[in-house]
Structures are given as C-alpha cells and as structure tokens.
Symmetry: none
Subunit: 415 residues, 2 copies
C-alpha cells in the first residue's frame, strides 16, 4: 500500500480528433512517454468531471475532483478567486472576479481586457480601488485586489449580502455593461446588487481620473476605465480533505482560482517561483516543488493551466508541444519519487477541444499507478487508449476516494 | 429467458497484483476454470459494492448486493449476527456481536479471543449469560447466544432502546474495555448504554466464577472472563427479495452475519452440514445443497467465506489454493444445473488484498452467464480480464436487478 500520492491535473488537456493533426488528438500526437508509463503500469479509465455530456467550469470540475459534489457545494466562483488572491474571506463576504476593461462614455464595452493592460499598471489601479467608500451603501466594506494581467477580485463585506446577483460583465464587446440585478426576491440580493452597481459607478470615477489612464491615453492605449465584476460567490462550507481522509495535503498551482479551490479544500498551497498559471510557467520548478513536498505531505496536487490556454487559443500544434513539455518535466517525478511507496495519477479537469476553443462535456482520460495496481493492456496515455483500461468510467467526485483507497485512507463503511 | 439463478459470492476474493505471486493476483494465478467458463460465456464487468474507493464492511456490501442502498437501510451489524444465530428479533431489540476475551483485573484486554476458546466451552459460557438479570435496568431482557469459536451475540430487549451507542470492545489489546456511551443525546441511547455497561459488569462476575474458567485456569489457559460487545444494530425494515421480485429465494452460508443478512432480505437459509464459514468448510456439500435447492427455489445464493479468511491472514499462496478448491467444487453446478434455463453469476462482496490484509475500496470482478448473454472476448475470471467485459462498471445495489432481469423478474417501469 502506498503512503504518498502525487496527482497531476493538466487543465483542458483532453481533446477530440483534430483535422489539423491528421485526425489525432493532441495527446495521441504528442504520445507523452512519462504519462504513458503511468498508463501502462497503472489503472486507466475515463472520468466525467461532472456527469456525461456536461461541460464543467474550472471551479465545479475541481470541486468534484477534490471530492465535493458540486451540485451540493458550489456557491459561485468569486470566493475561490478571492481566496487564491490571498484575501481571507468571512462567511458573509460576497466575492467577484473582475476584468479591467475599456468602455466608451455611454458604457459600451470596447475591450474586455483594456488592451491587455500589464500587471504593474493593473496592480496600481487595483490599490486605488481597494477600500473605496460607498455612499448609498456605507455599511459595505470594499476590498479589491489584483491577480494576474487585466484581472482582479472584488469583495463586498457586510452582514446580510447574497451571492444571488447577476453579472455586470456583459461577456462581450459592443454592448453596454449591465446593471447587476437580484436573482431572487430578497433584501440581501437587492442590497448586494445595489452595492455592486454603486461600486461600478464609484470605481469608474476613480479610474477616469487616474494617472495610469492619463498616461495610457497619451500613449494611445485603451483606457482601463471600468471594472466588470462577474461570478458572485461565497465561501462554501467544505469538510477539508485533511479532516476527511487524515492526510497532509499540498498543492502547486499558478492561477488564483485554482489556489483558492485548493485552499478551500484544506490544501497548503505552496509558493513556487515562476508558477504563473499561463504558458510561460516554470514546469520544472513546479515538479521540483511537488517532489520535495512529498516528504512533508501525503498527497500533492500539481495543476498546470498551459494546456487549457492553448486550447482556448485554438492551437492544436502548440498544444502538442505544451503536452510534450509537461511530460518531459513530469519525468522527474517518476525518477525521483519512491514508486514502491507512491500513487501517481495523471488526469484533467475537463476537455477543451482545440478546434472548438471551449470546454466541452467529453470525459477525460485518467491513469492511476500504485504498487499492486491492476494494470491492463493500455500502453499510452490518451483519450482513446485510456477508455479501454481497467478503471472503466468514473465520476469526478469519485476521484479522491479512488486515490485515497490506494493510500488506505478511506474509512470502511460498515463492519 | 432463464427461470433459475445461482449466485456464488466468494468473500474478499478480489485482490491486487501480489509481489509474492510474481505480480499476478491470486485469481490470475489460480486461473479458475469453472469461473472462467462463466466469464467466457457470460457478461463480465466490475462492481463497486458501495461506491468507487470506499471499503465495504461485510454487512453493507451484502445489503447492497441484495439490492438495498446501504446509505438508506443500514442500521448496524449486530441485528444480522443475531438473526443469523437464530434469535427472532423484535423491532425494539438492540443486538451486538460479542467476543469472549481475557481481561486483567483492572479491565485491560490481554487477549481479544480468550486464547481462541473452543466452541464447546464458549457454548456453555453463553448459556450462563442468556437471561441474566440486570438490577439497575430490570426492565431490560438479556438474550445471549454463542455463534462460532470465541464469538456470540447479545440482545437487549425492552421498549425505548437505541442502537446509537458506542462499542465496549476497544478493538485492540493492552487497553481497557470502554464504557459504552450514548452517541446521541436521547433517553433511549442513554438507557441502552447504561444497560449494556451493566450487562458487561454483571457478566464479568458470572464468568469469573464459572467452572469453565476454573478449569482453564488450572490448565494455564487464558480465561474467558469478559464479554466485549460491539456493532450495535437493530433490524432494518427491508422489502423482502421474494416480495420485490416475486421469486422464491434460498441461501447457503456459514457465518452468522451472512445467514442473518440473507434472512433479513427474505431468503430461506438452508441448513448445510459442514458449512462452517471458515477455511475448513465443506465446499462440495454447499454446492450440492445449492444444486438441489434449484428445484424448489428460483434464486440460490452461495456464500463462501474462506477466500476472505486467508486474505486477512495475508497468505496469497493459500488464497490461490482456496480459489482453486472453490472453483473445483463449483464445477458441479455447471455440470448439473440446466444451463439452458439458468443464470449463473460469480462475484464477491469486496476486495481484500492479501498483501494488505484488510478490506479495500477496489471494485470486484463480476461474471453473469445466462442463455442469450451478450458475452464478449473475456476468457478468464479475474480482476483485470473482467474489467474489459461487456458489463462495464456497475454498483452493488444494481446487482440484484441485473440478475433478476436475466430471469424476467424486474417489473417494467413505465408503459
């Protein structure tokens, strides 16, 4: 029985057959050797992160993979973004993820990313919004923090708020930003929508006059003159993974939402220099961090976002290259971890077909090596090979018990 | 369409790849020919008795396999033990399984099996405890019955008792027996814990003075001077299998808990001489009983415990031998039952890896022959071969409908 586990989640890695790859999936075209070892010595199968055919969000997929039924536990994405950005959330806080965007005078969205405003400028703008006062809703405290590129998180803090409000972000250009509306008929939802609309109003005035935007105007760059909140969320009450299974759990991840998800599940999120959550992430550094964490933790998750980024960019050739780079970095795990004492799993949170550019509801391949694994005849790690493995087809919410069973950490039910 | 079914449950038979068997599972090493016939002419798959990764107890696994969702219907193990021992349980009875054990004067457990006290002595001791009077809880009737070796069952009978009390058995040696505590804040749980503690107190005095123990002391054998109750249970209200499916159902089993589970599900438990529930059981007699029962019953279950016993003993080589012996005895079923009219299934209640020695949450292989079965290319009955069969991966609670469907006994849902 293994006592340690390393789980690699390659975000959006699974795909469909791509005409631009001669009818292969990017995984088939890359034929990753380290993942292939896990597949050939481990048990393989398919996993529906949510359920067959349902495209998962990043948040619901990870909730499920971490052992929580998202239909019971999901309370919006915002809270995970805020947690991941380092904001300690209280039970009454409502959090939103936000874009800095460019709007014309009448509020029509011109650029949802404000010309991909750089980190340094977005950071300064974010500080100018953190703590701003609302007049109509003076009892609501405003927290604002920059995360990455044009993105940030907003937290409204006050008793009696609700996450059941609509997005301000219209999710496309050429239309006006939307006033947030309460999604239920409750005083809390009404108050939250009103406070959110007031924040958007007040923040537009702050941004309009900001030095950063004056400089951007002089350089002819799109102004970051509006904030677009979306994905209202509150912190769900989750039984932590360490409490449920009696393990010490750590995670390596770049993106704020993933860090927040792991934190919400009770994982220690390790600080890894160069883990950016994008294509330029330092894969070797992430794997080294995971390998050294195995001495102090029982289970270590490594989340890699790059596969999803290139899929949304509809670039199958680049996806093949990214998969090969991850695989190559991952070989260090196989050579440096004691495989007589470790469970090693490779999988993903959802399929993002790189000729579609969006999450789809196809199942994801899964390979789980552990000493004594009932491996079958699978030789490669890809969507088609793994489908013929000894694990059959499981649900995302069954993933954690499957791994913990390899560590003897699932309590017996009954006698 | 078959009209009869024989189901063989080999307890704890599934395993993992064993280093002591050259990387094979015991089933792979034994390559059982009769089971192999069922696999090659039947539909094969994997079954999660409870759900993926969750190690089942003997009781919850059988409840599921008999068609009852254990999360809805499980009310503790004790009641099945008592039923299996032949005690007719009322709806207000709380039953416990018990060990005769050896304790030092201060209550520290020295031997949880009282030197594996033989059946004859445990039987006499049990009779001395049956019907003993409690003083503080004089309205509680005490029933006590010996089952096998050092084991027995205790029933507390009174209105207003509860199964929600903790075990007296500390489940290890070197520590004191535990006072039972109510697990919920209710008068019923308080009264039950109090009556149970009083029973332990009173029974210690009876056992201390018993002739059997005086003789054991003279022979230098560990005294059976304490009873360790555990697994409080009440009888669940189950829709009987004969009522649900309109069949006559019989079972052949050795161990008390299995007999009790089958009885609770409405099966006739056949009396088979030599069916001991251990490794020395008379396998041929059990198979003969099943074969002749097919004329009077529509479905006959045969439960064999030996595979689990050798797995808990961490003896993979012996497990190979036991599997071969069961397989050989089972060949009589294939040669004597009319296979044009019978469904034959082979499976297990849970995995007990013989290099681990405990139940784990790995799925179990399953093969179901019936006339017209959609068999595929599986040639052998083992964990890996069956995983690639035409049944895919099902849940324990889906097993009974799967078998009954082969008999045309599942009512149509809808029109």
């Amino acid at each position: 029985m293994a006592s340690k586990a390393i789980v690699l989640i390659c975000d959006g890695m699974p795909d469909r057959r791509c005409s631009r790859l001669g009818g292969l999936t990017p995984l088939q075209a890359a034929n990753p050797k380290s993942f292939g070892w896990v597949a050939s010595k481990g048990e393989c199968g398919l996993m529906d992160p949510i359920s067959p055919g349902v495209p998962p969000g990043s948040d619901t997929a990870h909730l499920a993979i971490l052992g929580y039924d998202p239909y019971k536990h999901y309370t919006g994405r915002g809270a995970f973004e805020a947690l991941g950005a380092g904001i300690e959330l209280g039970p009454n806080d409502v959090a939103f993820r936000c874009n800095f965007a460019t709007a014309s005078e009448d509020g029509t969205i011109v650029d949802r990313r404000a010309g991909r405003i750089p980190d340094e400028e977005a950071e300064v703008l974010s500080r100018s919004l953190d703590g701003i006062r609302l007049n109509r809703n003076s009892d609501v405290t405003v927290l604002f923090k920059h995360t990455v590129e044009h993105r940030g998180v907003l937290v409204l803090r006050c008793d009696g708020l609700s996450r059941l409000v609509s997005d301000v972000d219209p999710h496309k250009v050429g239309v006006r930003l939307l006033p947030s509306r309460p999604l239920v008929d409750s005083p809390a939802a009404k108050k939250t929508a009103d406070a959110l609309n007031e924040f958007v109003e007040v923040s537009r005035r702050v941004l309009m006059d900001h030095e950063i935007n004056r400089r951007r105007a002089l350089r002819g760059q799109p102004l970051a003159n509006v904030v677009l909140p979306r994905g209202a969320g509150t912190l769900p009450k989750l039984e932590k993974v360490p409490d449920r299974f009696g393990v010490r759990a750590a995670a390596v991840a770049g993106g704020a939402v993933y860090k927040g998800l792991f934190k919400a599940a009770g994982f220690e999120v390790l600080d890894v220099k160069g883990a950016t959550g994008t294509v330029d992430t330092d894969l070797e550094a992430k794997m080294r961090a995971a390998i050294s964490a195995v001495s102090a933790y029982d289970i270590v998750f490594v989340h890699v976002k790059a596969t999803d980024v290139v899929s949304h960019d509809k670039n199958p050739a680049k996806k093949v290259e990214v998969i090969s780079r991850i695989d190559s970095a991952f070989s260090a795990v196989l050579s440096e971890v004691d495989l007589e004492d470790a469970c090693i799993a490779v999988t993903s949170d959802h399929t993002t077909p790189s000729e579609v550019g969006e999450h789809t509801g196809d199942p994801v391949p899964l390979a789980v090596y552990s000493p004594g694994a009932r491996y079958g005849t699978v030789e490669r790690f890809d969507e088609i090979s793994c489908a013929l493995g000894t694990l059959g087809r499981i649900r995302g919410v069954e993933f954690m018990p499957t791994i913990m069973n390899c560590l003897g950490r699932v309590p017996m039910y009954g006698e």
